[in-house]
Point group: C4
Chain length 234, copies 4
């Protein structure tokens, strides 16, 4: 994919984030990566979604983190994105939002348990919460350390099976094969969070899904035996 | 009704499902049946609603379940629809969605009690919850078995009096005289679920409606003595 | 006002009801009255709001309740409207809806307490709940008896000071000087109900407003010393 | 800024308030001030937002509170705005709304605790609740006294660090460098209130953010070391 095409995709993904009701003001950003060139394309900081043009996107070098294209400052969360791209080689796009229901769980410092098949269609297990950052981690290199606690949380988790996380006291990050796919997973996460919220209120003693149902739904949509949707790669 | 007309109706019903706010991403599907020809028309799997055209609809043979028309794969829930059409001869359309409030009750594994006249206008009694599927039922023939637990749950229930169900851990299915009518009942179910949710929070000791009020509202709108709406069949 | 103008106003008020998010499907109706001619104009039963035209409105004689104009059946709730117009000579319009939060309180059989100045701006005291109808009242003359329990509930209440009510197990009715004004009060009631719902969850021990604050806000907007809005009658 | 430009800005800010879903009916108003001329521009009372034109704005003298321009009566809350402009010399715009979730906390008479970084991005600490007004304060000079209890509440608080307040039993006021900025803070407050509401339900024992995280997020966006957004003043 050319860099121009990636900029168009990332720009469009940022607009899709707002169009799907996940955004208040300018609180959210989407990025995408070209793995062949080690270039990350990300939303500029504090710019409204309606005004975004592909040429406004900021281009960063994956290794150094330096800006190598674009007239604006990158999103202030860019260092978090870079840490995730370096640690998770399978991901092609990242979305960060302060969507309401996912942020409620993040603020409550509680993982979102897998309470239904809607959840299992996207997340193969709970959407995990990170540990809170320490005073030192907040004061020195905050955005880098936000990325690091996410990576730490995924030491024993698979980023394909669980394409998102809640940062304690903060909000959700999701990822996917592309910028657009990471937005898709943020939309799903917000719906799943709202359903979990109400489910826990209706029945505080509800248990997470049994593993066989979790497996069934997740692998209906993912992996070599998936049978949801149309055949794409044939 | 010609097959082309049924495709148009089913296509339009799928779009109506999204327009009424019952859909996240592509999580929902509507079908309709031509009883004279034993043909079921259903949404293709994983296609976005905005793009749907009548010619995209998939045609299935009721008895064999085989695809006999359409270029796409049918919704992955098609085997559930087929089981319901075979078991419930009075129904002409089926809607499955993951609408938020109905899914909360499904995930909580709790029936929606008849707490008000809004409920009674559409459902003559609680909207029942199925039993959870067993490990074996999930692993082998999951979608068929989803249909079977619904049929099992309705052994002593009337599908006209109660045009919908919650599948445990999953979400709602509704049905009706036509595809459009099944969407109508999904819209009603979501409103009824949201009202029940809040009613139980405001007053956890609230009791279901007495039978005479349930009867009054249901039969105002259904059956030979109905007097709601305009006379249609005269 | 000519009858044609009243039809236009009532038609527009019904559309405003939907536009303001108070309607699911066709669950709601607005009427207006011409006191000089004793004619009530009301929405036809079961017709969608988008399709409504002024000429579709149904005209009823206040005294006899008989239809004297319009090609459709009137709303099935018309007998309730007629009882209220006869009992409350000060009102010029009535709205009935199944708006979600007001219906939650109605289903919970609990009045909406006056918990804030938003409430006090419109309702001078709690929005009262009626008693439930008896079996006999439901089975014989249900809609008339719905009107009667509202009138009974207002024996010691002022319909100008409290322009709305919750019918137990059912939903809200509001009224006002005109059809449009009754819709205005339904919009206010739904917002007030949602605020009360959350307030009671955040602080279950919250007390209703003191009388002096209730008086202040209500009489800022109503009566001879009102000073909210622009001078209309000078 | 010319007075005409200030009228355009204040008119547009009032419309933005409605467009962002913070308004029911006409319950809300925005003002702005020209500090060089001591002139306050405010919405007229009870006029719908869709109809507002810049020339409808009302101009008040800051010192005397007298109307010196505009054909309409000013918002009935104008005396509260004037008190705040006199007491808080740093603010350039004020928004008052009855947005649903912020009003829930106001009605519950509970401050909104700083439970997440979304909150800390805008408010450096809890959004405080005023004390209730006394009977005498309500009956004589109500709107002036509403301003005075806000000023009293901020005796030890910084209006730049905490650009908003909840008036007990009533609702929120926010402020900012301009009319538009005060609307921005009302939008943020409503999102923050909704997140806090759900967070407290999910985890009633949740603690406010530690100071170092509160500081980090607030000073990322505010003050000389801010690094969120684009450089504006260079």
């Amino acid at each position: 994919m050319s860099l121009d095409k990636l900029k168009r995709h990332v720009c469009e993904a940022n607009k899709a984030l707002e169009r799907n009701g996940l955004i208040t003001l300018t609180w959210g950003n989407v990025s995408g990566i070209d793995r062949s060139k080690n270039l990350v394309v990300i939303k500029p900081s504090g710019v409204t979604y309606a005004d975004l043009k592909p040429s406004d996107m900021v281009v960063l070098d994956l290794s150094s983190g330096k800006k190598i294209g674009g007239k604006y400052r990158p999103s202030s969360d860019a260092p978090t994105h870079l840490i995730l791209y370096r640690a998770f080689p399978d991901i092609g796009g990242i979305t960060h939002a302060h969507s309401i229901y996912a942020s409620m769980f993040a603020q409550a410092c509680i993982s979102i348990p897998a309470l239904g098949t809607t959840h299992a269609d996207i997340f193969h297990g709970e959407v995990p919460i990170t540990r809170p950052l320490t005073k030192r981690e907040v004061e020195d290199g905050y955005e880098v350390n936000t990325g690091k606690v996410i990576v730490e949380r995924f030491k024993k988790l698979d980023t394909v099976a669980v394409p998102g996380v809640l940062v304690a006291n903060h909000g959700p990050f999701t990822w996917g094969q592309s910028a657009q796919d990471s937005v898709h997973n943020s939309i799903a996460l917000e719906a799943v969070a709202k359903m979990a919220y109400g489910t826990l209120i209706i029945n505080p003693k509800v248990k997470p899904l049994p593993d066989y149902l979790l497996d069934k739904h997740f692998f209906r949509k993912h992996g070599p035996n998936a049978y949801y949707g149309q055949k794409k790669n044939q």
